[in-house]
Amino acid sequence: MSAPEHTPVPAAGIAQGRAASVNAPDERSRLTRLGRYLVQPALLLLACLALFLWLNSLELDSIEKRRINVDFISTAMWQQIKLVAVSTVMVITIAVTLGILVTRPGARSLSPVVLAVANIGQAVPSIGLLVILALVWDIGFTPAVVALVAYSVVPVLRNTMVGLQQVDPSLLEAGRGMGMTKTAVLLRIELPLAVPVILAGVRTALIINVGTATLATFTGAGGLGDLINNGLRLGRQPVIITGGALTAILALTIDWLAGIAEDVLRPKGL
């Protein structure tokens, strides 16, 4: 029992064995991850190339030429990216802050109320929200961003709440018991451990925003929706396909970037 049991040696041996066996699948998952990092952009580049070659093979009329050119497309693409980027940054700011607030002890009773309000934003059809805001407020970039934010705040908010709630309470007890302040526990334990779940929500919000931002064309905010909308109204299939394909490619590219971000930002050791 309390006999000569200078255990660290065998114990260490066991741990080493464990670590080794843990490492092997790690190695494999790193390879598959590397594959995923490279394969997806390669496919997306191929899709771009195919689109370009196909458009080149067509005899474009003057109406089509006015839309399918570097200037028009890059402007639309840039507007689209700006809509998505600005709305997502705002969503993260608002939803993560709200998520933190409603998970603090004392404010927990607020969380159903906040979720209900946020759900209303998502329940209203996105095109409806855009149009309503355009009617009662203004057209252009800012109202479109507001509509996008209202529409995509829920996944980030909900994931922030879930991510913070699933942190093992004994970790908070250990942290507080060692004399960490509430803020320190939030910043150094709760948020880092909630990051994977929050990021999954952000990824969803990003994809929602890329898709929904194509509707912003109807309220004069531009974007790739311009291509699709113009193509539809003028009955020009190449324009519609260009707009649709570019939107899909953008969405998949953003999803790919978000996937990398998730892997990079996930805390080690989990």
């Binding site: 029992m1 309390s2 006999a3 000569p4 049991e5 200078h6 255990t7 660290p8 114990a11 260490a12 066991i14 741990a15 080493q16 464990r18 670590a19 843990v22 093992d168 004994s170 970790l171 007890e173 250990a174 942290g175 507080r176 018991g177 060692m178 004399g179 960490m180 302040t181 320190a184 150094r188 334990i189 880092p192 451990l193 805390p267 080690k268 050791g269 989990l270």
Partner: protein
């Protein structure tokens, strides 16, 4: 109750923590979880709070570091009233170990241990050397474990790191809430022994919560048996609680094995060791045979250069023609001199010769314990129990609040 039953004499030890009329009523509850608790915790001792679940012992522990704010009463630390000071800073002066250990999974072992030192603003170099020192103290190789993550550790290793983390900034006080509760029995026993050995060096003031009376008896310098509302039923040394329970509640809580538990209070170092013939490893057969014949024993024990026991040989073993490394039996059933008689009895069951070899901390031979010595001790315990029973049966001898339930 606490007022009628004054805390046991603290043997002149300085009071480290003094709880004065501490009360906690949780909102929405009528009965206080902790009801007017007063006790003094002496410096450098392990004080155990033991009681059935729900008796308020964990709440009491959390009142001490003010994870729970007391409704009433005072906490005095080394003469300083800390009931109103900044509780975050107060907690940095006390280590805290919980059953779930609560290692931060996204931080390395080093970062985990460095939590408090970093909050206290230690520089990088000092933190790194302290982490190395602590890992060695708890028996883990710093270079191997520093950069590991908690998920790579076994339960016992996590617990060691948890203790190291609690001691990081060398706080004078450790609060431990069932620290060995979630660990398998064999590892638990080893960790308890390691911790006791550690404590004999570091001499912290430790408040230790458990529901396990055996653990309390083994670990405690002093035990407070608590009843509902964290009311002290008895606060005394383990010996006195086992041999002289204050009332029927304490007696019931100790349970029937009190005499056997007494063996965990007697140490191998306190009894007279028996001798067997010994020989330096490498001694010739003839010399060993003579040494064996010159004694009244049936076997001779060989020791290596560091006087560590190697093998047992009987006269027949010495007559055999094979190499001496192949005949005889390996020297097993070893205990250290700070082991309890309970441990020794346990080892005896695995022994070839019926005696247990006692060694120093560095493994060198001291002597052996025989069954007779343990039996003698059991007889003493039984005699004490008989004496106690006789006293209790005298009606006006002891002012009992409750009738003894026997």
């Amino acid at each position: 109750m606490p007022d009628q039953l004054p805390p046991s004499p603290l043997d002149g030890n300085k009071v480290m923590i003094s709880l004065q009329h501490l009360t906690k009523v949780f909102p929405g509850q009528r009965e206080p979880a902790v009801n007017d608790l007063s006790m003094d915790i002496p410096e450098g001792e392990i004080v155990i709070l033991v009681g059935p679940s729900g008796c308020g012992k964990s709440t009491t522990l959390r009142l001490i570091n003010r994870l729970i704010e007391p409704t009433d009463g005072k906490i005095v630390l080394e003469g300083e009233d800390v009931t109103r000071v900044n509780s975050d800073e107060l907690r940095r002066r006390m280590g805290y170990v919980i059953q779930q250990i609560g290692l931060f999974p996204h931080m390395t072992i080093e970062q985990n241990i460095a939590t408090v030192p970093r909050m206290l603003g230690w520089d990088r170099k000092r933190v790194a050397s302290r982490v190395g020192e602590l890992l060695e103290t708890v028996g883990m190789d710093p270079e191997q474990y520093r950069r590991r993550y908690p998920k790579e550790l076994s339960g016992g290793q996590s617990q060691r790191v948890g203790v190291a983390r609690a001691m990081a900034a060398d706080p004078p006080i450790l609060l431990m809430d069932e620290p060995f509760g979630a660990i398998d029995p064999i590892t638990r026993d080893r960790l308890q022994n390691e911790f006791l050995r550690l404590q004999s060096d570091i001499k912290k003031t430790i408040v230790f919560v458990t529901h396990d009376i055996d653990e309390a008896v083994k670990m405690g310098d002093r035990i407070a048996v608590l009843r509902e509302g964290s009311v002290i039923a008895q606060y005394d040394t383990p010996e006195r609680i086992l041999t002289n329970p204050a009332d029927a509640y304490v007696e019931t809580f100790i349970g029937s094995g009190a005499s056997l538990k007494g063996l965990t209070l007697a140490y191998v170092r306190d009894i007279e060791l028996a001798d067997w013939p010994i020989a330096q490893k490498g001694t010739g057969r003839q010399a060993m045979r003579e040494a064996l014949l010159g004694s009244d024993r049936t076997a001779i024990l060989t020791l290596d250069e560091q006087r560590r026991p190697v093998r047992w040989y009987t006269a027949r073993d010495l007559d055999r023609s094979e190499s001496l490394d192949e005949v005889g039996l390996p020297a097993t059933a070893l205990v250290e001199s700070n082991a309890t008689l309970h441990d020794a009895l346990d080892q005896m069951l695995t022994s070839y010769t019926g005696s247990v070899i006692v060694v120093d901390r560095d493994g060198s031979y001291r002597g052996t314990v025989e069954l007779d010595a343990i039996k003698h001790r059991v007889d003493e315990i039984r005699a004490a129990a008989r004496e106690r029973a006789r006293q209790m049966s005298v009606p006006d001898h002891e002012p009992m609040t409750q009738a003894p339930s026997r």
